[in-house]
């Protein structure tokens, strides 16, 4: 019996030792092991891309002119002409990671992009629903684990802080976006587009949608929209419990706070340059004072703040009378899909609302950058931009410049009306404000948590 006990314990010890070794091995930054694994598990698609890429590089290096003559010139790591990209992308699958909480967007992406690129380019779209934080993490994790090729993500919908994180860690493929054939429709000379939250894009991401902040409100209970922050404050005091905003780090909650900083400073100018602590300290107290002043009269007495997605439910069911969104047409979409009652409308503040662009980027270790770029090129084509801007289909604002489109497309575009609760494009355009640099956002969010949430 003593022997038996000894055997059992030896087993346990051996297993434990093995676990330790297994755990330690990976931490050793053992490039050799990881690379072998990477190579072994590489998909055929990735292998195909790589061969093409290698071939291209030699061609490009040897005679640049030949490459250009052979087709549409295109400049991205591993590719010399757009035809090479198309060839490499043929028959592949693109893993596109994007936020998946809207059944409308999910269905639209699969039907209006997935089906079309399958037909036109023989590319299969695999839309992966995930939070931006999760997939940015995945890239960081893969990088930390030495997965330098054959990565999971081919294309991802990111912007702002996440873009800056990946760009500064040198974890993005590129530059590629300004060289896309359809980049001629993108106003790259517009600083609002060439910078993502103040971070120069530098060809590392391509636009995908345009967004502008609007307030949504229930006209059954709010006779006249409070279009200044003073009027909003007064309204909240008179109608306690019916206003709130999403908790940081929700990106809509975050942009609401940014508006207050612009309000406190009398405009966006102080926040457009490099982060400056003294400027921040100059305006921050007024913002915290405003927010702490309305706090007792917020929904639930300010005892808690909702998560962003829950806000729509609160507005739809009269728990609050206001909501806010980065998508000016969402109220119309939600009315059409039955989520919102028909009494919801939108407004912008007299002093304007922030606007920015959504982008797609390709990670450094993407298995299929060619397929990803073909997709990115398709979504800025006038053909798709017409689908995107049609209020009866997507109802999004477009990141491209419609005046550069073919005339036929322009005619269709100008025939579109606006959604029932959507503000006209000229009202939105005339009220658009630029985003501050990313570092400001980080400071504002941290300040809110410290000075409002945890107070």
């Amino acid at each position: 019996m003593r022997n038996l006990k000894g055997t059992a314990w030896r087993w346990l010890l051996a297993l434990l030792a093995f676990a330790l070794i297994a755990a330690a091995c990976g931490d050793d930054d053992d490039a050799e092991t990881t690379e072998t694994t990477a190579a072994a598990t590489e998909t055929t698609a990735a292998a195909a891309t790589e061969t093409t890429a290698a071939a291209t590089e030699t061609t490009a290096a040897a005679t640049e002119t030949t490459a250009a003559a052979a087709g549409t010139p295109f400049d991205a790591p591993g590719f010399g002409t757009w035809e090479e990209v198309l060839a490499a992308a043929d028959g592949t699958t693109v893993n596109w990671f994007m936020w998946g909480g809207s059944d409308v967007i999910n269905a639209n992406v699969d039907n209006d992009i997935g089906d079309v690129i399958k037909e036109q380019f023989n590319i299969t779209l695999n839309r992966v629903p995930a939070d931006a934080a999760d997939f940015v993490n995945k890239v960081l994790d893969e990088s930390a684990a030495g997965v330098t090729e054959g990565g999971t993500i081919d294309l991802m919908w990111i912007n702002g802080e996440n873009f800056a994180t990946l760009k500064n860690a040198d974890l993005l493929y590129g530059p590629w976006s300004e060289s896309l054939p359809n980049a001629i429709y993108v106003p790259w000379d517009d600083p609002a587009l060439a910078n993502d939250f103040g971070e120069p894009v530098e060809g590392l991401e391509s636009p995908w949608g345009h967004a502008q902040f609007v307030m949504e409100y229930n006209t059954d209970f709010v006779a006249e929209a409070p279009t200044t922050f003073e009027a909003l404050q007064a309204w909240i005091k008179e109608n306690p419990g019916t206003f709130t905003y999403p908790a940081i780090p929700d990106f809509v909650g975050s942009v609401f706070i940014r508006h207050l900083f612009y309000w406190a400073a009398g405009g966006p100018e102080p926040f457009l340059g490099e982060f400056d602590q003294a400027t921040f300290d100059q305006y921050a107290p007024a913002v915290w004072e405003y927010l702490n002043d309305i706090e007792p009269d917020l929904w639930r007495g300010g005892g808690t703040y909702p998560e962003g997605p829950a806000m729509a439910d609160l507005l739809a069911n009269q728990e609050v009378y206001f909501n806010m969104s980065y998508d000016p047409s969402r109220a119309s979409t939600n009315i059409a899909s039955g989520t919102y009652p028909e009494s919801i409308r939108t407004f912008v503040f007299d002093t304007g609302t922030l606007s920015n662009n959504n982008y797609v980027a390709v990670p450094f270790n993407a298995a299929n950058p060619a397929g990803a770029m073909v997709l990115a090129n398709y979504i800025i084509s006038p053909e798709f931009q017409l689908v995107m801007s049609d209020p009866d289909q997507w109802g999004w604002l477009v990141p491209t410049d419609p005046t550069t489109w073919p005339e036929e497309a322009q005619a269709t575009f100008s025939s579109y009306g606006t959604g029932v609760a959507t503000l006209p494009a000229d009202v939105l355009n005339s009220h658009a404000l630029p985003e501050p640099q990313g570092e400001w956002v980080t400071a504002m969010e941290a300040g809110w948590i410290e000075n409002v949430l945890e107070k």
């Binding site: 297993l15 297994a22 931490d27 808690t304 439910d313 949430l453």
Partner: protein, 299 residues
């Protein structure tokens, strides 16, 4: 002579086989748990102590534990996590015993009632939460009924049970799932014990209350103890239910730890790991204390 050696050989081989038999039977299960669970904890422990070479951390340090344990928000979250888990555990045990006592009786419809009682058992926690959200928010179906009956005028009049610091909807979801679990265990114990002890007590003149506290409860106590350990550990560590139904601040510890873990800033991971390790240690200590206490109480 040769024959004797053969026999000894055979006996030796036989005894070796029987000696190895049990370790071999246990090895696959124990191996998987030790490798995966133990290995995972080791990696987590290493990172919580500052060993994270992937981002250039190689020095062992207790700094992360220090910063976690001295943070007043950590203590607030710990208390919230404990309060929710403890309330869910105690309430589900008490309710489960009550239902088990009713369901062991034979009456018209008792089979159907037992089946209904079993339904939450296989239902995933997320679905339970999904159904409960529809009922208990301030504009949910119950609130609408209250409005129709003239009890409330606006949703804000209805008591807050979702996104509230008390965590009522979280506890309700756990109760909905765990009461049947404990109840069925208690029911199984009651059935295997049979009625003879109670009959004897009755013959000796014990009333209903005495029969319950002096006869039944000691019999089902071990079962309640084990299930409450399982439930407490589960609710203490659950992430998705408090995330869906709880307040943004304070959040329960698993939510805090997971948020830190998933932050794009990898430098926050050691802290996430430290919180998770503390969570595991606290749970283990509480359960050991509970077992000691329960044993002492039973005696």
């Amino acid at each position: 002579m040769a024959r004797t050696t053969e026999l000894t050989d055979l006996a030796e081989r036989e005894s070796l086989r029987s000696r190895l038999k049990i370790p071999l039977m246990l090895a696959p299960a124990v191996g998987i748990v030790v490798l995966l669970f133990g290995g995972g904890i080791l990696v987590g422990l290493g990172q919580s102590l500052g060993y994270f070479p992937a981002i250039g951390l190689n020095e062992f340090t207790f700094e992360y534990y220090g910063s976690v344990l001295t943070d007043s928000n950590f203590l607030r979250s710990l208390w919230l996590t404990f309060r929710i888990a403890a309330t869910a555990t105690v309430l589900s045990s008490v309710l489960a015993v009550g239902f088990a006592l009713v369901l062991r009786q034979k009456f018209a419809g008792s089979r159907l009632a037992t089946f209904l009682f079993q339904i939450p058992l296989p239902v995933p926690h997320l679905v339970a939460a999904s159904g409960i959200i529809l009922l208990v928010t301030q504009s949910g179906l119950t609130a609408r009924l209250a409005y129709a009956l003239g009890i409330i005028d606006v949703p804000g009049d209805f008591p807050a049970m979702v996104f509230d610091e008390a965590g009522i909807a979280i506890i309700l979801t756990f109760l909905w799932k765990e009461v049947p679990f404990v109840g069925l265990v208690v029911l199984a114990v009651l059935q295997s014990v049979g009625p003879q002890y109670e009959e004897q007590a009755r013959t000796l003149g014990a009333n209903g209350r005495q029969r319950f506290f002096n006869v039944l409860l000691p019999l089902i106590m071990p079962g309640i103890m084990s299930t409450s350990i399982i439930i407490f550990a589960f609710t203490f560590a659950n992430y998705e239910i408090p995330l869906l139904l709880g307040t943004r601040f304070p959040s329960t510890l698993p939510v805090v730890a997971y948020r830190l873990y998933q932050d794009p800033d990898l430098a926050l991971r050691p802290e996430a790991m430290a919180i998770s390790i503390v969570l595991a240690i606290v749970a283990l200590l509480l359960l050991i204390a509970y077992r000691r206490l329960a044993r002492y109480a039973v005696r």
